[in-house]
């Protein structure tokens, strides 16, 4: 595990490089999904990620999942507390001052009374945990999402969110640890901890999907849209609903038998 994580700087550099390549090639690819002009490349990355997950990440997550619940909760809370600082900044950037202040309060309470963030006292005090990142902030500001991207190991993203992620990582406290040993181990632990929370959901997605790649792409597009609107996205126009007449009068709904 020690050597499996690349160092932070090369990660940033290669992400930036991929962005440049994508910028050059994004206009290619007729016929497919309108949001996914790079589908062949994305599918190749997706296959690689699936293999890496199957043989490395998922087994590690399953081992991690055997830990007692209080340990897992503590680890989750600890990383959650580190993330709350940047979440608060993003809330402020989006003009949500109440939320931003509440995030600041969370960090203060959890870092002290919650002993370095291991206990999430703030939630119990009624300071709700939020979920923000720069990609969402950019979306809130009206920046379009750009082409869908599958990032190596990290999975679903898009051009806007990848740009956001580069900044997110550059201010990330874990990535900021100067000693590469502890930095890589902490990064690996956080990655495995995040993955372990998806155990179960991954099986469901596997079973639900006709094509897992399509399914996860749809999911990511809808999920980010929902996140940008803080879980309350306006209902999308339905291509079929317009002439369906069923919304106006449910009693006359067609009912194929």
């Amino acid at each position: 595990m020690k050597n499996s994580q690349p160092e932070s700087k090369p990660v940033l550099r290669s992400l930036a490089m991929s962005l440049a390549i994508i910028g050059l090639t994004a206009c290619a690819g007729p016929g497919g999904h309108p949001k996914d002009p790079l589908e062949p490349l994305n599918r190749a990355t997706f296959r690689f990620n699936e293999e890496a997950d199957r043989y490395v990440t998922r087994p590690l997550a399953q081992v991690y999942d055997l830990a007692p619940l209080p340990v897992k909760t503590g680890v989750g809370n600890f990383f959650g507390n580190l993330a709350d600082i940047w979440i608060g900044v993003n809330n402020l950037l989006q003009g949500k001052f109440g939320e931003g202040l509440s995030d600041g309060g969370r960090v203060l309470v959890n870092s002290t009374v919650g002993i370095f963030g291991i206990f999430d006292i703030a939630t119990e005090l009624g300071l709700e945990k939020h979920d923000e990142d720069l990609g969402q902030t950019l979306g809130r500001w009206g920046v379009g999402d750009g082409p869908y991207l599958v990032l190596p190991l990290l999975g679903s993203s898009n051009l806007r969110d990848t740009a956001g992620l580069i900044v997110d990582l550059s201010v990330d406290p874990v990535m900021g640890i100067s000693d590469p040993g502890p930095r890589n181990r902490t990064t690996a632990l956080r990655f495995v901890q995040k993955r372990s929370q998806l155990l179960g959901a991954d099986t469901t997605a596997e079973q639900a999907a006709l094509d897992k790649y399509d399914y996860l792409r749809s999911f990511y597009i809808q999920y980010r849209r929902s996140q940008i609107y803080d879980g309350r996205p306006p209902r999308e126009e339905d291509p079929d609903e317009g002439n369906g007449a069923d919304d106006a009068s449910p009693a006359t709904k067609e009912n194929p038998k």
């Binding site: 999904h33 619940l69 897992k72 909760t73 503590g74 680890v75 989750g76 809370n77 959650g80 999430d120 945990k129 979920d131 929370q197 179960g200 099986t203 469901t204 079973q207 639900a208 999907a209 006709l210 094509d211 399509d214 399914y215 792409r217 749809s218 999911f219 809808q222 999920y223 849209r225 929902s226 996140q227 609107y229 879980g231 309350r232 996205p233 999308e236 339905d238 291509p239 079929d240 369906g244 069923d246 919304d247 449910p250 009693a251 709904k253 067609e254 009912n255 194929p256 038998k257």
Partner: protein, 210 residues
């Protein structure tokens, strides 16, 4: 008054009650809560479901949950604009296969239930509304709560679920891209066949597990 009366009756009768008898007049948020509480209570006690007995979970979903879902509506939403080009027979085949797929998948998800707590948010709707969103939140220690929301519409006197959203993602419209892909490749019949194959494949994995 009728609403309150039936709610009280539902509460006092508790477990094992036949919800369908009350479905006529029950409010949508009360309906979702009753069905959820009912199902969770059963899963909590059923060791077989907890240890991954999909068949038992499917049985539970079929008797307790299905009566409140409108699968024709769900399938129409999932297929999107291609729905119009399907004939009556194809529509009913699509509905049948999609229903089977959803029931299999989410019955299986039920076997993963481990004491998460479910909070019900207050309903924001006017009494005359015929299309509402019932919001719930699943909480577990050390993880961000997950939103699970239900879209219901009123049909005559009773409410039916026509969409489920997990973390803001519609589990129904999430299929639209791949369904569109299948229809472009093999027409409506191609989509029906893919769904059939998928269901068969799930069937064999289930029986292989036994």
């Amino acid at each position: 008054m009728r609403k309150i009366a039936s709610l009280l009756a539902a509460l006092t009768l508790g477990l094992g009650l036949q919800l369908s008898a009350f479905a006529q007049s029950i409010a949508p948020d009360a309906l979702v809560k009753n069905v959820t509480d009912d199902v969770i209570a059963i899963v909590r006690q059923d060791k077989a479901i907890q240890s991954g007995d999909t068949r038992k979970a499917v049985e539970l979903v079929e008797t307790k949950v299905l009566p409140y879902f409108d699968f024709a509506h769900m399938t129409r939403l999932a297929v999107g604009k291609d729905w119009r080009q399907a004939n009556a027979e194809q529509k009913s085949a699509l509905t049948h296969e999609f229903k089977t797929l959803l029931v299999r998948t989410y019955s299986n998800a039920l076997t993963q239930y481990r004491n998460q707590q479910i909070d019900f948010k207050p309903l924001r709707a006017k009494p005359e509304d015929t299309d509402v969103l019932v919001r719930t939140e699943v909480r577990q220690p050390g993880a961000k709560p997950v939103q699970i929301d239900y879209n219901l519409d009123k049909q005559g006197d009773s409410w039916k679920v026509y969409d489920v959203l997990v973390a803001g993602v519609s589990l129904v419209t999430n299929y639209r891209d791949s369904f569109g892909q299948e229809v472009r490749a093999g027409g409506i019949d191609g989509l029906i066949k893919s769904l059939k194959d998928k269901n068969q494949q799930l069937d064999t994995t289930v029986s292989a597990k036994k």
